[in-house]
Protein backbone atom coordinates (compact mmCIF):
# COMPACT_ATOMS: atom_id res chain seq x y z
CA UNK A 1 0.00 0.00 0.00
CA UNK A 2 1.32 3.40 -0.89
CA UNK A 3 0.12 6.67 0.45
CA UNK A 4 0.70 10.36 0.16
CA UNK A 5 2.90 12.19 2.63
CA UNK A 6 0.97 15.19 3.91
CA UNK A 7 2.87 16.18 7.05
CA UNK A 8 6.62 16.01 6.56
CA UNK A 9 8.65 16.93 9.66
CA UNK A 10 11.14 19.13 7.76
CA UNK A 11 9.88 19.86 4.24
CA UNK A 12 7.12 22.41 3.61
CA UNK A 13 3.89 20.98 2.19
CA UNK A 14 3.93 20.95 -1.62
CA UNK A 15 1.44 22.99 -3.52
CA UNK A 16 -1.11 20.53 -4.85
CA UNK A 17 -2.87 21.80 -7.91
CA UNK A 18 -6.44 20.75 -8.55
CA UNK A 19 -7.56 17.15 -8.30
CA UNK A 20 -8.17 15.55 -11.70
CA UNK A 21 -9.62 12.28 -13.00
CA UNK A 22 -7.81 10.05 -15.46
CA UNK A 23 -8.15 6.61 -16.98
CA UNK A 24 -5.54 3.87 -16.60
CA UNK A 25 -6.26 0.74 -18.63
CA UNK A 26 -9.92 1.81 -18.81
CA UNK A 27 -10.42 2.31 -15.07
CA UNK A 28 -10.94 5.75 -13.55
CA UNK A 29 -8.57 7.16 -10.90
CA UNK A 30 -7.88 10.49 -9.26
CA UNK A 31 -4.59 12.36 -8.95
CA UNK A 32 -3.21 15.89 -8.84
CA UNK A 33 -2.75 17.95 -11.96
CA UNK A 34 0.90 18.34 -12.91
CA UNK A 35 2.28 15.48 -10.84
CA UNK A 36 4.01 12.73 -12.81
CA UNK A 37 1.71 9.95 -14.01
CA UNK A 38 3.95 7.47 -12.15
CA UNK A 39 3.40 9.28 -8.83
CA UNK A 40 -0.38 9.51 -9.35
CA UNK A 41 -0.56 5.78 -10.11
CA UNK A 42 1.63 4.83 -7.14
CA UNK A 43 -0.58 6.93 -4.88
CA UNK A 44 -3.44 4.77 -6.21
CA UNK A 45 -1.42 1.70 -5.25
CA UNK A 46 -0.55 0.83 -8.85
CA UNK A 47 3.00 -0.32 -9.47
CA UNK A 48 2.73 -2.22 -12.74
CA UNK A 49 2.96 0.26 -15.61
CA UNK A 50 3.57 -2.13 -18.51
CA UNK A 51 4.27 -5.74 -19.42
CA UNK A 52 7.53 -6.58 -21.12
CA UNK A 53 7.17 -6.70 -24.90
CA UNK A 54 8.72 -10.15 -25.21
CA UNK A 55 8.48 -11.93 -21.84
CA UNK A 56 5.25 -10.33 -20.62
CA UNK A 57 6.73 -9.82 -17.15
CA UNK A 58 5.33 -6.86 -15.21
CA UNK A 59 7.41 -3.67 -15.00
CA UNK A 60 7.18 -0.51 -12.89
CA UNK A 61 9.29 2.57 -12.32
CA UNK A 62 13.00 2.03 -11.86
CA UNK A 63 14.95 5.31 -11.95
CA UNK A 64 11.96 7.71 -11.70
CA UNK A 65 13.79 10.57 -13.45
CA UNK A 66 13.69 9.66 -17.12
CA UNK A 67 16.94 7.75 -17.60
CA UNK A 68 15.87 4.11 -17.74
CA UNK A 69 12.67 4.10 -19.86
CA UNK A 70 11.22 1.24 -17.80
CA UNK A 71 8.00 3.19 -17.09
CA UNK A 72 6.88 3.88 -20.65
CA UNK A 73 3.13 4.02 -21.23
CA UNK A 74 0.74 5.12 -23.96
CA UNK A 75 -0.92 8.47 -23.22
CA UNK A 76 -3.85 9.64 -25.36
CA UNK A 77 -2.69 7.17 -28.01
CA UNK A 78 0.88 8.44 -28.05
CA UNK A 79 3.22 5.51 -27.38
CA UNK A 80 6.38 5.28 -25.35
CA UNK A 81 5.96 8.22 -22.96
CA UNK A 82 7.82 7.99 -19.68
CA UNK A 83 5.30 7.95 -16.82
CA UNK A 84 7.90 9.48 -14.49
CA UNK A 85 8.32 12.58 -16.69
CA UNK A 86 4.80 13.11 -18.01
CA UNK A 87 2.65 15.52 -15.98
CA UNK A 88 -0.90 14.34 -15.27
CA UNK A 89 -3.80 16.21 -16.89
CA UNK A 90 -7.56 16.03 -16.52
CA UNK A 91 -9.09 13.27 -18.62
CA UNK A 92 -5.84 11.61 -19.70
CA UNK A 93 -6.23 8.12 -21.11
CA UNK A 94 -3.23 6.06 -20.10
CA UNK A 95 -2.60 2.50 -21.30
CA UNK A 96 0.03 -0.08 -20.39
CA UNK A 97 1.61 -1.81 -23.31
CA UNK A 98 1.74 -5.59 -23.36
CA UNK A 99 3.40 -8.49 -25.09
CA UNK A 100 4.03 -8.15 -28.80
CA UNK A 101 4.09 -11.05 -31.25
CA UNK A 102 7.49 -12.66 -31.77
CA UNK A 103 6.82 -14.58 -35.01
CA UNK A 104 10.46 -15.29 -35.85
CA UNK A 105 11.14 -16.77 -32.43
CA UNK A 106 7.95 -18.84 -32.57
CA UNK A 107 8.75 -20.06 -36.08
CA UNK A 108 12.23 -21.07 -34.92
CA UNK A 109 10.78 -23.09 -32.06
CA UNK A 110 8.91 -25.38 -34.48
CA UNK A 111 11.29 -25.27 -37.44
CA UNK A 112 14.88 -25.22 -36.20
Amino acid sequence: MSERITDHPVLDPIERKKEVSFLFNGKSYKGYEGEPIAAALLANNIRTLRYHEESGSPRGIYCNIGHCFECRVTVNEKQGLRACLTPLKEGMEIQSSGMLPTPVKEWRETHV
Binding site: M1, S2, E3, R4, I5, T6, H8, P9, V10, L11, D12, I14, G34, E35, P36, A39, L42, A43, R47, T48, L49, H52, S57, P58, R59, G60, I61, Y62, C63, N64, I65, G66, H67, C68, C84, L85, P87
Partner: protein, 405 residues
Protein backbone atom coordinates in the same frame (compact mmCIF):
# COMPACT_ATOMS: atom_id res chain seq x y z
CA UNK B 1 19.91 31.98 -32.23
CA UNK B 2 21.00 32.06 -28.59
CA UNK B 3 24.38 33.10 -27.23
CA UNK B 4 24.26 30.24 -24.75
CA UNK B 5 22.20 27.07 -24.43
CA UNK B 6 22.47 25.06 -21.22
CA UNK B 7 21.27 21.48 -21.12
CA UNK B 8 20.23 20.59 -17.59
CA UNK B 9 18.42 22.78 -15.05
CA UNK B 10 20.18 21.37 -12.00
CA UNK B 11 22.53 23.26 -9.68
CA UNK B 12 25.31 23.57 -12.30
CA UNK B 13 23.02 24.58 -15.18
CA UNK B 14 20.99 27.11 -13.19
CA UNK B 15 24.03 28.76 -11.65
CA UNK B 16 25.69 28.96 -15.09
CA UNK B 17 22.47 30.45 -16.52
CA UNK B 18 22.33 33.24 -13.94
CA UNK B 19 26.04 33.96 -14.37
CA UNK B 20 25.94 34.26 -18.18
CA UNK B 21 22.61 36.10 -18.33
CA UNK B 22 23.93 38.60 -15.79
CA UNK B 23 26.79 39.30 -18.23
CA UNK B 24 24.20 40.31 -20.81
CA UNK B 25 24.12 37.11 -22.87
CA UNK B 26 20.95 35.58 -24.27
CA UNK B 27 20.53 32.26 -22.49
CA UNK B 28 18.23 29.26 -22.87
CA UNK B 29 18.12 26.44 -20.30
CA UNK B 30 16.47 23.16 -21.31
CA UNK B 31 15.62 20.22 -19.02
CA UNK B 32 13.40 17.21 -19.58
CA UNK B 33 12.09 17.11 -16.01
CA UNK B 34 8.91 19.03 -15.09
CA UNK B 35 10.65 20.86 -12.23
CA UNK B 36 13.95 22.69 -12.11
CA UNK B 37 16.65 21.51 -9.72
CA UNK B 38 17.75 18.14 -11.07
CA UNK B 39 19.02 15.73 -8.44
CA UNK B 40 19.24 18.60 -5.98
CA UNK B 41 15.42 18.56 -5.68
CA UNK B 42 15.39 15.34 -3.69
CA UNK B 43 18.20 16.21 -1.30
CA UNK B 44 17.54 16.63 2.39
CA UNK B 45 20.16 16.18 5.04
CA UNK B 46 21.48 17.76 8.18
CA UNK B 47 24.58 19.91 7.79
CA UNK B 48 27.40 19.67 10.36
CA UNK B 49 26.08 22.93 11.90
CA UNK B 50 22.67 21.35 12.55
CA UNK B 51 20.70 23.18 9.83
CA UNK B 52 19.01 21.28 7.03
CA UNK B 53 20.14 21.28 3.40
CA UNK B 54 16.70 21.41 1.78
CA UNK B 55 17.02 20.58 -1.93
CA UNK B 56 13.60 21.98 -2.83
CA UNK B 57 14.36 25.38 -1.29
CA UNK B 58 17.83 25.47 -2.82
CA UNK B 59 16.40 24.56 -6.23
CA UNK B 60 13.72 27.24 -6.02
CA UNK B 61 16.34 29.77 -5.05
CA UNK B 62 18.60 28.86 -8.01
CA UNK B 63 15.62 28.85 -10.37
CA UNK B 64 14.50 32.29 -9.20
CA UNK B 65 17.99 33.68 -9.61
CA UNK B 66 18.33 32.31 -13.15
CA UNK B 67 14.85 33.57 -14.00
CA UNK B 68 15.47 37.06 -12.66
CA UNK B 69 18.75 37.30 -14.55
CA UNK B 70 16.72 37.00 -17.76
CA UNK B 71 17.57 33.43 -18.74
CA UNK B 72 14.76 31.56 -20.52
CA UNK B 73 14.03 28.18 -18.91
CA UNK B 74 12.19 25.44 -20.79
CA UNK B 75 11.24 22.42 -18.69
CA UNK B 76 9.67 19.15 -19.84
CA UNK B 77 11.76 19.27 -23.01
CA UNK B 78 14.08 16.39 -23.95
CA UNK B 79 17.17 16.88 -26.08
CA UNK B 80 17.33 14.26 -28.82
CA UNK B 81 20.62 15.22 -30.45
CA UNK B 82 23.28 17.91 -30.62
CA UNK B 83 25.57 18.62 -33.54
CA UNK B 84 27.94 21.26 -34.79
CA UNK B 85 27.27 22.99 -38.06
CA UNK B 86 29.99 25.47 -38.94
CA UNK B 87 30.39 27.69 -35.87
CA UNK B 88 26.93 26.91 -34.59
CA UNK B 89 25.74 24.17 -32.23
CA UNK B 90 22.36 22.73 -33.17
CA UNK B 91 20.23 21.44 -30.31
CA UNK B 92 17.40 19.15 -31.37
CA UNK B 93 14.23 18.68 -29.33
CA UNK B 94 11.07 16.86 -30.37
CA UNK B 95 9.43 20.10 -31.58
CA UNK B 96 12.12 22.65 -32.35
CA UNK B 97 15.79 22.89 -33.20
CA UNK B 98 17.72 25.62 -31.38
CA UNK B 99 20.98 27.27 -32.39
CA UNK B 100 23.71 28.62 -30.18
CA UNK B 101 27.36 29.69 -30.15
CA UNK B 102 28.09 28.25 -26.72
CA UNK B 103 26.63 24.99 -25.47
CA UNK B 104 26.96 23.87 -21.86
CA UNK B 105 26.27 20.26 -20.94
CA UNK B 106 25.12 20.16 -17.32
CA UNK B 107 23.38 16.80 -17.52
CA UNK B 108 24.39 15.58 -14.09
CA UNK B 109 24.55 11.98 -12.99
CA UNK B 110 22.66 8.73 -13.41
CA UNK B 111 22.46 5.78 -11.03
CA UNK B 112 24.45 2.68 -11.86
CA UNK B 113 22.07 -0.23 -12.26
CA UNK B 114 23.20 -3.17 -10.13
CA UNK B 115 21.31 -6.30 -11.18
CA UNK B 116 19.96 -8.65 -8.50
CA UNK B 117 17.81 -11.70 -9.35
CA UNK B 118 14.20 -10.48 -9.33
CA UNK B 119 15.10 -6.84 -9.90
CA UNK B 120 12.59 -6.29 -12.72
CA UNK B 121 9.63 -6.79 -10.35
CA UNK B 122 7.45 -3.71 -9.85
CA UNK B 123 8.44 -2.29 -6.47
CA UNK B 124 12.17 -2.55 -7.17
CA UNK B 125 13.63 0.87 -7.89
CA UNK B 126 16.85 2.81 -7.69
CA UNK B 127 17.41 4.48 -4.34
CA UNK B 128 17.19 7.87 -6.06
CA UNK B 129 13.76 6.93 -7.40
CA UNK B 130 12.51 6.37 -3.85
CA UNK B 131 14.05 9.69 -2.82
CA UNK B 132 12.29 11.62 -5.58
CA UNK B 133 8.95 9.87 -4.98
CA UNK B 134 9.17 10.68 -1.27
CA UNK B 135 10.68 14.16 -1.09
CA UNK B 136 9.63 15.71 -4.39
CA UNK B 137 6.24 14.13 -5.12
CA UNK B 138 5.34 13.13 -1.55
CA UNK B 139 4.17 9.64 -2.41
CA UNK B 140 5.59 6.84 -0.28
CA UNK B 141 7.51 4.29 -2.37
CA UNK B 142 5.98 1.66 -0.08
CA UNK B 143 5.43 0.83 3.56
CA UNK B 144 8.51 -1.19 4.30
CA UNK B 145 11.66 -1.33 2.22
CA UNK B 146 15.06 -2.97 1.98
CA UNK B 147 18.00 -1.07 0.48
CA UNK B 148 20.57 -3.14 -1.39
CA UNK B 149 23.95 -1.45 -1.47
CA UNK B 150 25.73 0.16 1.47
CA UNK B 151 27.23 3.51 0.46
CA UNK B 152 26.89 7.19 1.41
CA UNK B 153 23.99 7.85 -0.98
CA UNK B 154 22.06 4.83 0.33
CA UNK B 155 22.62 5.83 3.95
CA UNK B 156 21.51 9.43 3.42
CA UNK B 157 18.39 8.42 1.48
CA UNK B 158 17.53 5.76 4.07
CA UNK B 159 17.42 8.51 6.69
CA UNK B 160 15.26 10.65 4.40
CA UNK B 161 12.76 7.81 3.88
CA UNK B 162 12.56 7.29 7.60
CA UNK B 163 11.99 11.00 8.17
CA UNK B 164 8.96 10.79 5.87
CA UNK B 165 7.50 7.85 7.77
CA UNK B 166 8.64 5.09 5.43
CA UNK B 167 10.12 2.10 7.23
CA UNK B 168 13.53 0.91 6.04
CA UNK B 169 14.15 -2.52 7.55
CA UNK B 170 17.74 -2.87 6.44
CA UNK B 171 20.65 -1.60 4.40
CA UNK B 172 22.45 -4.63 3.12
CA UNK B 173 25.00 -5.78 0.56
CA UNK B 174 24.14 -7.30 -2.80
CA UNK B 175 25.28 -10.88 -3.34
CA UNK B 176 28.64 -10.81 -5.07
CA UNK B 177 28.54 -11.34 -8.82
CA UNK B 178 30.71 -10.50 -11.79
CA UNK B 179 29.47 -6.91 -11.89
CA UNK B 180 29.54 -5.68 -8.34
CA UNK B 181 32.68 -7.09 -6.74
CA UNK B 182 33.66 -3.99 -4.76
CA UNK B 183 30.12 -3.13 -3.69
CA UNK B 184 29.56 -6.71 -2.46
CA UNK B 185 32.85 -7.11 -0.61
CA UNK B 186 32.30 -6.56 3.12
CA UNK B 187 35.76 -5.20 3.89
CA UNK B 188 35.87 -2.82 0.94
CA UNK B 189 32.41 -1.52 1.72
CA UNK B 190 33.39 -0.95 5.34
CA UNK B 191 36.50 0.88 4.24
CA UNK B 192 34.31 3.19 2.11
CA UNK B 193 31.88 3.73 4.96
CA UNK B 194 34.65 4.84 7.27
CA UNK B 195 35.10 7.89 5.10
CA UNK B 196 31.55 9.02 5.85
CA UNK B 197 31.31 7.73 9.42
CA UNK B 198 31.87 11.21 10.85
CA UNK B 199 28.43 12.07 9.42
CA UNK B 200 26.76 9.31 11.40
CA UNK B 201 24.61 10.56 14.25
CA UNK B 202 26.01 8.03 16.70
CA UNK B 203 29.12 9.02 18.64
CA UNK B 204 29.94 5.34 18.91
CA UNK B 205 30.21 4.97 15.14
CA UNK B 206 32.17 8.21 14.87
CA UNK B 207 34.62 7.03 17.52
CA UNK B 208 34.72 3.55 16.09
CA UNK B 209 35.68 4.89 12.70
CA UNK B 210 38.88 6.35 14.15
CA UNK B 211 40.33 3.15 15.50
CA UNK B 212 39.06 1.29 12.45
CA UNK B 213 41.33 3.20 10.07
CA UNK B 214 44.30 0.72 10.17
CA UNK B 215 43.75 -2.22 7.84
CA UNK B 216 44.28 -4.88 10.50
CA UNK B 217 41.53 -3.35 12.58
CA UNK B 218 39.28 -3.45 9.54
CA UNK B 219 39.97 -7.16 9.16
CA UNK B 220 39.07 -7.70 12.80
CA UNK B 221 36.14 -5.33 12.51
CA UNK B 222 34.60 -7.16 9.62
CA UNK B 223 35.24 -10.57 11.18
CA UNK B 224 33.59 -9.57 14.44
CA UNK B 225 31.04 -7.34 12.75
CA UNK B 226 27.76 -7.94 14.58
CA UNK B 227 25.61 -10.37 12.60
CA UNK B 228 22.59 -8.23 13.39
CA UNK B 229 24.38 -5.17 11.99
CA UNK B 230 24.95 -1.82 13.65
CA UNK B 231 22.34 0.87 13.50
CA UNK B 232 22.55 4.18 11.68
CA UNK B 233 19.52 6.44 12.25
CA UNK B 234 17.94 3.36 13.83
CA UNK B 235 18.27 1.38 10.59
CA UNK B 236 20.28 -1.87 10.74
CA UNK B 237 23.28 -1.72 8.40
CA UNK B 238 24.42 -5.20 7.45
CA UNK B 239 27.91 -5.75 6.14
CA UNK B 240 27.82 -9.49 6.73
CA UNK B 241 24.53 -10.14 4.98
CA UNK B 242 23.64 -9.97 1.31
CA UNK B 243 20.42 -10.15 -0.69
CA UNK B 244 20.55 -13.20 -2.94
CA UNK B 245 17.12 -12.74 -4.54
CA UNK B 246 14.10 -10.45 -4.65
CA UNK B 247 10.86 -12.44 -4.36
CA UNK B 248 7.30 -11.79 -5.53
CA UNK B 249 4.79 -12.72 -8.22
CA UNK B 250 3.44 -9.54 -9.75
CA UNK B 251 5.31 -7.24 -7.35
CA UNK B 252 7.88 -7.27 -4.56
CA UNK B 253 6.86 -9.36 -1.55
CA UNK B 254 10.17 -10.15 0.17
CA UNK B 255 13.93 -10.50 -0.18
CA UNK B 256 16.09 -13.52 0.55
CA UNK B 257 18.95 -12.50 2.82
CA UNK B 258 22.01 -14.68 3.48
CA UNK B 259 25.00 -14.30 5.79
CA UNK B 260 28.28 -13.84 3.92
CA UNK B 261 31.90 -14.50 4.84
CA UNK B 262 34.31 -11.55 5.21
CA UNK B 263 35.27 -12.10 1.56
CA UNK B 264 31.65 -11.88 0.40
CA UNK B 265 30.96 -15.59 -0.18
CA UNK B 266 27.48 -16.71 0.87
CA UNK B 267 27.37 -19.16 3.80
CA UNK B 268 25.00 -21.93 2.73
CA UNK B 269 21.95 -22.56 4.85
CA UNK B 270 21.86 -19.05 6.35
CA UNK B 271 19.14 -17.69 4.08
CA UNK B 272 16.23 -15.91 5.72
CA UNK B 273 13.17 -14.25 4.21
CA UNK B 274 12.53 -10.58 5.00
CA UNK B 275 9.10 -9.32 3.93
CA UNK B 276 8.88 -5.89 2.32
CA UNK B 277 6.83 -4.14 -0.35
CA UNK B 278 9.65 -2.22 -2.01
CA UNK B 279 13.34 -2.66 -2.64
CA UNK B 280 15.87 0.04 -3.49
CA UNK B 281 19.03 -0.68 -5.41
CA UNK B 282 21.87 1.67 -4.53
CA UNK B 283 24.57 1.15 -7.13
CA UNK B 284 26.10 4.60 -6.86
CA UNK B 285 26.19 7.44 -9.38
CA UNK B 286 28.07 7.92 -12.64
CA UNK B 287 28.45 11.02 -14.85
CA UNK B 288 25.68 11.24 -17.46
CA UNK B 289 27.68 11.89 -20.59
CA UNK B 290 25.76 10.65 -23.67
CA UNK B 291 25.46 14.10 -25.23
CA UNK B 292 29.20 14.72 -24.87
CA UNK B 293 29.79 11.36 -26.56
CA UNK B 294 27.34 12.18 -29.36
CA UNK B 295 29.17 15.49 -29.88
CA UNK B 296 32.48 13.66 -30.18
CA UNK B 297 34.29 14.71 -26.99
CA UNK B 298 37.37 12.72 -26.00
CA UNK B 299 36.79 10.81 -22.74
CA UNK B 300 38.87 9.32 -19.99
CA UNK B 301 37.84 6.70 -17.43
CA UNK B 302 38.46 8.09 -13.95
CA UNK B 303 37.16 5.76 -11.23
CA UNK B 304 37.72 8.48 -8.62
CA UNK B 305 35.09 10.59 -10.41
CA UNK B 306 32.56 7.80 -10.88
CA UNK B 307 33.19 6.77 -14.49
CA UNK B 308 33.99 8.15 -17.93
CA UNK B 309 34.28 11.94 -18.02
CA UNK B 310 34.66 14.19 -21.06
CA UNK B 311 38.12 15.77 -20.97
CA UNK B 312 37.89 19.42 -19.94
CA UNK B 313 40.07 22.15 -18.47
CA UNK B 314 39.70 24.19 -15.29
CA UNK B 315 37.66 26.78 -17.21
CA UNK B 316 35.14 23.99 -18.00
CA UNK B 317 35.91 24.00 -21.72
CA UNK B 318 35.89 20.65 -23.54
CA UNK B 319 38.17 19.80 -26.44
CA UNK B 320 35.42 20.92 -28.85
CA UNK B 321 35.04 24.61 -29.66
CA UNK B 322 31.99 26.14 -28.02
CA UNK B 323 31.20 23.06 -25.92
CA UNK B 324 31.44 23.25 -22.14
CA UNK B 325 30.69 21.00 -19.16
CA UNK B 326 29.78 21.66 -15.51
CA UNK B 327 28.40 19.71 -12.59
CA UNK B 328 28.31 15.94 -12.18
CA UNK B 329 29.04 15.28 -15.86
CA UNK B 330 32.62 16.14 -14.80
CA UNK B 331 32.60 13.76 -11.81
CA UNK B 332 30.33 12.80 -8.93
CA UNK B 333 30.31 15.47 -6.23
CA UNK B 334 27.88 17.47 -4.12
CA UNK B 335 25.52 20.18 -5.37
CA UNK B 336 27.62 22.99 -3.91
CA UNK B 337 30.58 22.04 -6.08
CA UNK B 338 28.22 21.86 -9.10
CA UNK B 339 26.98 25.41 -8.36
CA UNK B 340 30.56 26.66 -8.17
CA UNK B 341 31.44 24.90 -11.45
CA UNK B 342 28.40 26.51 -13.06
CA UNK B 343 29.76 29.95 -12.20
CA UNK B 344 33.12 29.16 -13.80
CA UNK B 345 31.47 27.74 -16.93
CA UNK B 346 29.19 30.78 -17.13
CA UNK B 347 32.07 33.26 -16.84
CA UNK B 348 34.15 31.32 -19.37
CA UNK B 349 31.31 31.34 -21.90
CA UNK B 350 30.75 35.08 -21.37
CA UNK B 351 34.46 35.75 -21.79
CA UNK B 352 34.66 33.63 -24.96
CA UNK B 353 31.63 35.50 -26.25
CA UNK B 354 33.54 38.76 -25.98
CA UNK B 355 32.74 40.14 -22.52
CA UNK B 356 35.92 41.91 -21.40
CA UNK B 357 37.67 41.91 -18.06
CA UNK B 358 36.58 38.54 -16.70
CA UNK B 359 40.01 36.95 -16.43
CA UNK B 360 40.48 37.56 -12.70
CA UNK B 361 36.94 36.54 -11.88
CA UNK B 362 37.39 33.27 -13.76
CA UNK B 363 40.60 32.54 -11.84
CA UNK B 364 38.83 33.37 -8.59
CA UNK B 365 35.85 31.14 -9.45
CA UNK B 366 38.21 28.22 -10.16
CA UNK B 367 39.68 28.69 -6.69
CA UNK B 368 36.19 28.76 -5.25
CA UNK B 369 35.42 25.34 -6.76
CA UNK B 370 38.49 23.99 -4.98
CA UNK B 371 37.50 25.61 -1.67
CA UNK B 372 33.95 24.29 -1.93
CA UNK B 373 35.34 20.82 -2.54
CA UNK B 374 37.61 21.10 0.49
CA UNK B 375 34.71 22.22 2.68
CA UNK B 376 32.27 19.50 1.58
CA UNK B 377 30.97 17.52 4.58
CA UNK B 378 31.75 14.28 2.71
CA UNK B 379 32.88 13.12 -0.68
CA UNK B 380 31.09 10.52 -2.79
CA UNK B 381 34.54 9.27 -3.61
CA UNK B 382 37.32 9.91 -1.08
CA UNK B 383 39.90 10.39 -3.85
CA UNK B 384 37.93 12.94 -5.87
CA UNK B 385 40.84 15.41 -5.79
CA UNK B 386 43.13 12.81 -7.31
CA UNK B 387 40.49 12.21 -9.99
CA UNK B 388 40.41 15.93 -10.83
CA UNK B 389 44.20 15.89 -11.10
CA UNK B 390 44.06 12.97 -13.55
CA UNK B 391 41.61 14.88 -15.77
CA UNK B 392 43.89 17.92 -15.69
CA UNK B 393 46.94 15.83 -16.62
CA UNK B 394 45.11 14.07 -19.47
CA UNK B 395 43.89 17.44 -20.74
CA UNK B 396 47.44 18.81 -20.76
CA UNK B 397 48.75 15.68 -22.50
CA UNK B 398 46.09 16.08 -25.17
CA UNK B 399 46.84 19.78 -25.68
CA UNK B 400 50.59 19.08 -25.88
CA UNK B 401 49.99 16.40 -28.51
CA UNK B 402 47.98 18.88 -30.58
CA UNK B 403 50.66 21.60 -30.48
CA UNK B 404 52.80 21.70 -33.62
CA UNK B 405 56.45 21.22 -32.62
Amino acid sequence: MYDVIIIGAGPAGLSAAATTANQGLEVLVVDEYMKAGGRLLGQLYEEPDGTYWNGIKESNHLYERANQSGAEIKLGTSILNIEKSGDVWLVYTEKDTYETSHLLLATGAAESPSPVPGWTLPGVMSVGAAQVMTNVHRVKPGKRGVIIGVNPLAAVIASELQMAGVEVTALTLPQMNGLNEEAAHPKQVMNQLLHVAHMAPSALIRQGSKWMKPSIMQDLGITFYPKSGFKMWGIPVHLRKAVTEILGDEKVAAVKLATVKPNGDVIEGTEEIITCDFVCIAGGLYPLTELAAVAGCPFYLVDELGGYVPLHNERMETALDGLYVAGNITGIEGAKVAIAQGVTAGLTMASNHGVQGLKDRIEQSIEEIEQTRDNAPFHFHPDVKKGKQIVQEKWEEMMAAEQPL
